[in-house]
């Protein structure tokens, strides 16, 4: 026990002065193996997305009608779909779409939500009430219905899908950040900043926002998984990304279901890809929450 503690101490002493984030990450990996596993999957996904152009054996868009519905083989690792397109290449390029849609929408919603939440907590009073009402309004729509309405107004297409996914998630983030920020508002350093004559905007952006990083990060990772799922549902309903783009949710639409018995690889691989990536993001976010929330440590 003591030698272990000794090793730990030495490692910490060595690194913590120069690389505090390294120490935090190492601690995270050791204490949260599940989260670490999730992180590994996420990194693999990111690499697949970045290097898709290099790794993918086929163009994800080129139809090959002589090779429709082929089972997995040496030339097509995951088989081909109903247009003869290579499923493996489409999965690789699909990770690009998933990450792009996932990151954009969760970044948008978490950031806008955080700003709204902090603003609401900081100003209090009427502004708080108005923002609260607005968030309530948005919250009372089921997620997918609000996304449907946004798509109905803006039309389909990837940018609109990102908006359609982000908008319903804004109020959820705003609420969580607001409750964190409420406790912040009472602290002396905010009063001090005020006394020093800092503008409201400066206090919000430079002082309060950085201190709600923990819930912000947790929301971000939680939303990423949700965003990927929502995109898949929207594509399934025909309101998401359009053919012939490579997107996992789109790959599950129509033909994958029709040919589910004859050509199950069409449905299995995209389904697995979605489930695995969302799973990884959720695991990671979950473990992050555990790591960042001191109230959850029981020895």
């Amino acid at each position: 026990m003591s030698s272990e503690a000794g090793v730990k101490l030495r490692t910490f002493a060595l690194t913590s002065r120069r690389l505090p984030w390294l120490e935090a990450s190492l601690r995270f990996v050791v204490q949260q193996p599940l989260g670490a596993a999730g992180l590994v999957v996420i990194v693999v996904m990111a690499f697949a997305a970045l290097l898709a152009g290099v790794i993918a054996p086929y163009d994800p868009l080129s139809n090959d009608y002589a090779a429709m519905l082929r089972p997995p083989s040496a030339s097509h690792w995951f088989g081909t779909d109903s247009f003869g397109r290579d499923v493996f290449s489409r999965i690789l390029y699909g990770s690009r779409t998933a990450l792009w849609v996932g990151f954009s929408s969760s970044l948008f919603s978490a950031t806008v939500g955080a700003i709204l939440g902090v603003t609401s907590a900081y100003f209090g009073g009427k502004i708080d009430l108005v923002i609260q009402r607005l968030m309530d309004l948005l919250l009372s729509f089921p997620l997918i219905v609000l996304a449907l309405v946004v798509v109905a107004i803006l039309g389909t297409g990837i940018m609109n899908v990102i908006l359609a996914i982000a908008i319903p998630m804004v109020p959820r983030c705003a609420l969580v950040v607001r409750s964190s920020a409420l406790s912040l508002r009472q602290t002396p350093f905010v009063d001090a900043a005020r006394a020093l004559g800092f503008s409201d905007a400066r206090i919000i952006f430079r002082h309060m926002l950085p201190n709600v990083m923990a819930p912000y990060l947790i929301m971000l990772t939680a939303f990423l998984g949700q965003a990927i799922l929502l995109e898949a549902s929207l594509s399934f309903l025909g309101l998401g990304v359009a053919e012939p783009a490579a997107a996992w949710g789109l790959m599950l639409r129509g033909a994958a279901v029709e040919f589910a018995e004859r050509a199950p690889w069409m449905a299995i691989f995209p389904g697995l890809a979605i489930s695995l990536s969302v799973f990884a993001f959720n695991l990671f976010g979950d473990s992050l929450r555990d790591a960042l929330d001191p109230k959850l440590r029981v020895s």
Binding site: L61, Y65, A152, T156, G238, L239, R253, E258
Partner: protein, 540 residues
């Protein structure tokens, strides 16, 4: 003596042979008759893919209304279920046409009763057609435009109705056989012309039992139907299943015996594999197709060379082979359904732009035309489409891929129905996938789409062409079939070959797998006619 014995023996043998032959024949026919004799009783459960907006056949245009509601009504004429497109009478017992083709006289069957017991007379037929052709204020009639040729109608006695036309029309009789023209009660219409939108009261083989919106529709046998031995069924139940997967599953599991619109090849194969000889598949070409429509008002699509290049690039033979395995798209055809009486023979069709058999040469020609018209390599534009996977998006993907091969970079824009129709109507698109589905093969109906935009609201391609308008009028009045065919060929050549204003990709295939115990229903080229279920029976 020896010879006479031989002769008599031969005679004997011959007689025995003859008797056995005759008795065999009798047996065979008796057995056959036994097999074919319809069994009465049973409830037919079938699946329908959408729910009906209202119940009024004169106003709706969707099969979702027709499939559950048609069994409650009769029409004046109908298509012979076993012999499409032959026309026979339903409410009409017989009819005659005057020599000049301007007067149609119909004799109505005596003793037809509505479900409420009242007698069906010429008054009801007249009131029905008044509603369809001259609808009163506030009443919508979706097919009014097809009856512009009617001048007036008269009822000299309670079993006779006469239609007076403004000019002879080759398609008038067929229009009267329209499955949408339910005969309504004059009394009900007089009280409230919109009564039939929310109520059912007809003279058909089945009476109305219940409708649970979004769930199911139930009808039961009409004991006073004018055909004494029909209907064979005790009743029917239509269950509404919006999504394709559970709909196919319903037929596969036997919860529904049939779906009357059509399944795609994958569904058919799954059902056949799972059920083997418990299932029968009926297939037919479908009077539905997908076309590429081009906004002729936008550059560079106002140049016929560009449009013809777009048509040349599409390998229709290849599409037929490939797409028919995964979707409803199958038959190569021009303006008329392949296999119908108006269809252009293959040899002639192959001469039209885009319908040739040599795709390499066609693509080379397409590239040359584009270059000549000044369209650069990699030119990009958009293709608007409906967001329905099968067969719209499938076709969109195919067409885009074909255009890629002549150096064009096209973005696919599937949309919801609302914005789709909006954009087409307002001309807010460059190219798009359009569709047409008709209840009969009749050029008067099907060519409306290609008339000048100011004459036809169905033409989204935004062009004016008086030659076409002229040809249309001529063929509509041509009572000589040969003459008419000639005019139709000219029309087709101008639209598809010379101008390529909008052109066909493929015509659909109709595939209906159903349980073998369902008998008496024969497939027709469209999913609108013969849905009154009166000849349908269940074998067990």
């Amino acid at each position: 003596m020896k010879t006479s014995k031989k002769v008599s023996m031969n005679l004997c043998r011959a007689m025995v042979l003859m008797i056995s032959l005759v008795s065999l024949v009798f047996q065979a026919t008796a057995q056959a008759a036994e097999k074919e004799k319809p069994r009465t009783g049973g409830e037919l459960v079938f699946a329908v893919g959408e729910t009906p907006p209202s119940y009024d056949g004169h106003r709706e245009t969707t099969f979702a209304m027709l499939h559950p509601v048609a069994p409650h009504y009769s029409t004046l004429l109908r298509f012979d279920p076993q012999n499409y497109p032959k026309i026979i009478g339903d409410v009409a017992e017989s009819w005659s046409v005057s020599k000049d083709g301007l007067t149609y006289t119909f004799k109505i069957r005596k003793g037809i009763k509505f479900h409420d017991g009242s007698l069906l007379t010429s008054k009801d037929v007249k009131a029905t057609y008044e509603k369809i052709i001259f609808p009163p204020q506030g009443v919508a009639s979706a097919r009014k435009g097809s009856y512009g040729v009617v001048d007036k109608m008269e009822t000299p006695d309670i079993y006779t109705i006469v239609f007076y036309l403004k000019h002879p029309s080759a398609s008038f009789l067929a229009n009267l056989a329209s499955p949408w023209n339910f005969i309504y009660s004059a009394e009900k219409l007089a009280k409230d012309p919109r009564w039939y939108e929310k109520n059912i009261m007809g003279s058909g083989p089945f009476t109305f039992v219940e409708y649970v919106p979004g769930s199911h529709w139930v009808g039961k046998k009409n004991p006073n139907y004018y055909m004494k031995d029909r209907p064979y069924l005790d009743g029917y139940k239509a269950i509404f299943i919006k999504d394709t997967a559970p709909r196919v599953a319903a037929v596969r599991s036997g919860q529904a015996l049939i779906e009357f619109r059509g399944f795609n090849p994958a569904a058919r194969d799954d059902i056949v594999k799972a059920l083997g000889n418990k299932v029968v598949v009926q297939e037919s070409p479908w009077t539905c197709n997908l076309t590429v429509t081009i906004n002729n008002g936008k550059k560079p699509f106002d140049d016929p060379r560009v449009r013809r290049a777009l048509s040349l690039a599409i390998d229709r033979q290849g599409a037929s082979k490939a797409l028919s395995q995964i979707s409803l798209m199958k038959f190569v055809g021009g303006l008329f359904r392949p296999g119908s009486q108006f269809a252009t023979p293959d040899a002639e069709l192959a001469k039209l732009t885009g319908f040739g058999k040599n795709i390499e040469a066609a693509r080379k020609e397409a590239r040359r035309l584009l270059k000549e018209a000044g369209v650069p390599e990699g030119f990009s534009f958009t293709l608007k489409n409906r967001n329905i996977k099968e067969p719209y998006e499938v076709t969109g993907v195919y067409v885009i891929d074909q255009w890629r091969q002549i150096g064009l970079n096209v973005t696919h824009l599937p949309q919801e129905g609302g914005p789709y129709f909006n954009d087409f109507r307002q001309g807010n698109y460059e190219t798009g996938i359009d569709f047409a589905c008709d209840f009969m093969d009749e050029p008067d109906l099907q060519l409306q789409k290609f008339l000048s935009s100011d004459k036809s609201p169905l033409n989204y391609a935004r062009y004016k062409d008086s030659v076409l308008d002229d040809l249309y009028e001529k063929q509509s009045r041509a009572t000589n079939p040969k003459e008419r065919l000639k005019l139709l060929r000219q029309f087709e050549k101008r639209v598809l070959d010379e101008q390529a204003y909008q052109f066909h990709v493929l015509w659909w295939q109709r595939i209906i797998p159903h349980w073998a115990k369902l008998k008496g229903w024969k497939i027709t080229p469209n999913h609108y006619v013969n849905q009154d279920l009166r000849d349908v029976w269940l074998a067990e």
